[in-house]
Assembly symmetry: C2
């Protein structure tokens, strides 16, 4: 997909196309449409990153709270977004044995109680073992450091989702 | 519903319950959960209003762009959110004759071309005639004034949606 095609989109088609590059936050792509025209994919990414970083701490935590648990209830009940389903599946979250499931549940619960938002990690860039290790390690952070760490992961997820859309044929998406 | 019940909710149940008080922007209730405990309904409202007003202009426009057209494509194709469906129906948008439909389509299109976001109005507080009149009048605003005007309507819609939830039995919503 050419950036000129993106720059010619109505806000409606732009939000339809990019609405879930940040999980369940169509507000964010809808906001950056105000900055059209974009130079390239990196420019779109930069605007999204800048928007998220401009949010107050509560807003950053709000973005995190729009994310599902890894190997959590939404995965079990089939209510993940298409993007999350693909990512969690790729990271092996759909094929955990019962001991691994229990471990994820226990760590996720501890994490949410400690921070008040879910553990977010770019699943496409991490194996099952990496995820468990990082979840355990990041539990030791303080809330402010962990918020920033998690937002970094949101921008990595966003970057890969954007790339996916840019590499695809726009006609199949609208 | 008692405010103590609200204050005892996990962020997950809070977002489930209040996720659409601002149309398709679960980020916003998810963000204000950081400010728990709330004093009362008015306090919840105030935090949401404050959050929206703290957004950069692009963010306010992003909130507006998450709204559907009045009597638009989503209504015709049955893809409105439950809340929007009820509101548009109550304002008579589901029973327009063909001349009225054409008029709404023409005015909405002109509005979106002029401002780059859709016409937002609290449908519950306005009759069909009011809506058409205000849409014609607000078309004369400049973009900055109209952005603020539309955000005011978002907070009115939010206020009524919040009241609806507070008046209902929480058990039916979770």
């Amino acid at each position: 997909m050419d950036i000129n095609v993106v720059n010619a989109l109505t806000y409606e088609d732009f939000v339809k196309l990019f609405g879930n590059v940040v999980e369940k936050c169509p507000l964010i792509p809808a906001a950056i449409w105000s900055h059209l025209p974009f130079k390239d994919l990196a420019d779109v990414e930069a605007h999204i990153r800048e928007f998220i970083h401009s949010l107050p701490d509560s807003g950053k935590e709000g973005v995190l709270r729009c994310h599902p648990d890894l190997a959590g209830l939404d995965l079990q009940s089939g209510t993940l977004t298409r993007e999350s389903q693909e990512e969690q599946s790729q990271a092996g979250m759909t094929t955990l044995d019962s001991a691994e499931s229990l471990q994820m549940y226990t760590l996720n619960t501890e994490y949410k109680e400690r921070f008040g938002f879910p553990f977010v990690i770019c699943a496409r860039l991490n194996s099952k073992a990496d995820i468990v290790r990082q979840l355990s390690e990041r539990l030791k952070n303080d809330r402010a450091a962990e918020r920033e760490r998690a937002v970094e992961e949101v921008t990595k997820i966003c970057s890969l989702r954007l790339r996916n859309i840019f590499l695809s044929d726009i006609q199949t998406k609208l």
